[in-house]
């Protein structure tokens, strides 16, 4: 039954997928996006900020940062201590239908992950998380908030670590602009599946659509945000090949 557990995202405003939740296809302007963790303890889920940080790291590393055709690169930031209790207790919408984002928990320039125990946000224990891109201007997402259900009786204690990581990765997908996918193999499918190991084809298409890789010109910025790589020799190799071709032609002529 646990495997069939529904987790759904309550994207009341602007969030998308390989569908989008709005019609402006909003995305972060810079595909290098910082993910911060709120410093409040998740008392009912028994997740401390350090554990949540490590899970979020696994979520970005094992899922979204793996897509070869996308320039999206999520970087773990810090465990923030600003207004920790506000993010833990306040509703995500100041009014419902339609949701008007709560200005008290507006996020600026990054994705913030926080636990939250407000029953207005989580009327059902089946809701594991909700994400709202609550700072959008000029067609771009400026900040997004992802709240984990920490109300009493929530179902996080029934999930394995890998399943919680998959839930976090799913919600981060909403935070960067993706909506739900109709395909079961996609991370952005509305429900947990028996075994989740990677993003699906629809996820790759969605994140590539929003944040396409743009080499060769994009390779410079890509190199600047990825500290785990080796030498950058595409351009020298290309020039070398051109030089070899030129020399061959000269030899042939002579």
């Amino acid at each position: 039954m646990k495997k069939l557990l529904i987790f759904f995202l309550f994207t009341s405003l602007q969030a998308h997928a390989f569908t989008f939740n709005n019609n402006i296809e909003a995305r972060f302007e810079d595909p290098s996006i910082v993910v911060n963790i709120n410093g409040a303890d998740c008392e009912n889920s028994q997740l401390d900020p350090d554990t949540l940080y490590q899970m979020a790291y696994d979520a970005v590393t094992d899922y979204w940062n793996q897509v070869p055709s996308s320039s999206l690169f999520l970087k773990m930031g810090t465990i923030t201590e600003d207004a920790t209790n506000t993010f833990y207790t306040e509703p995500i919408c100041s009014s419902q239908d339609p949701c008007v984002p709560n200005e008290n928990i507006k996020v600026d320039k990054y994705i913030l992950i926080s636990c939250n125990d407000d029953p207005q946000n989580f009327p059902s224990k089946n809701i594991l998380g909700l994400t709202l891109t609550n700072n959008i201007s000029g067609g771009y997402i400026r900040g997004a908030l992802f709240l984990l259900n920490d109300t009493p009786g929530n179902l996080f204690n029934d999930l394995s670590r890998d399943e919680i990581v998959a839930v976090i990765a799913h919600e981060i997908g909403h935070a960067v602009g993706l909506g739900h996918s109709p395909t079961e193999d996609a991370l952005m499918y509305f429900s947990l599946i028996p075994k989740r190991r990677s993003v699906g084809g629809d996820d790759i298409a969605g994140v590539t659509y929003l944040y396409p890789k743009e080499q060769p010109f994009g390779i410079i910025s890509c190199a600047s945000i990825d500290t785990g790589g080796g030498p950058h020799f595409f351009f020298p190799f290309l020039l070398g090949l051109a030089l070899i071709s030129f020399i061959i032609r000269k030899v042939k002529i002579s």
Partner: protein, 194 residues
Amino acid sequence: MRKIILLIVLLPLASNARKNHFSLGLEAFNQFTGKTQVNNEGTLNYFSPQLFIASEYFINIDKENNFSLHPNISFGIPRTNGDENTHSMTIVGSFAAGWTLDQFLLQVGLGLELNLIWANGGTERLNNGDTYTDFWLPSGLHTSRNLIINFSGDWFFLYNWALRTGGYVYNLESSHKRSLSYFFGVHYHFGAEK
């Protein structure tokens, strides 16, 4: 001396003692191997090929040493990634150096892979937990561009027919996004007489 240097540089690369000619092939292309989950049991795409049509021009630049150059363009049949409302298509252009040894042709070079993704807009009603919600579909065409290192090997089992296998390497500079695609197929070489 110059020939020796050229030999050292190009020996591990590719080409042929045939005259310039054109080839056309059908290939099975497995993109981003091991990066994509293909079912709900956690299976990754180690073998989920799509059909590719490949065309190539064979430029013989040094008959004595069997070196050649190979501009190539390949493209896949448009696909849906499981969601019929969105479509994608892959196009690869590359330029390789080749070396022929008896019935075998080895190539290595550089190229650009384009992934085109498009949809016609509108909405799609999807499960959102306890309810169904209309989600917006993408509207328009977006294209990603990946530089690739391409390599391949051909075996000419008949004079005009060759079996080909090879691959593309992506994002060597990134430990996270580094990836490999592979392909295999058959090519017919038009007018490949010596």
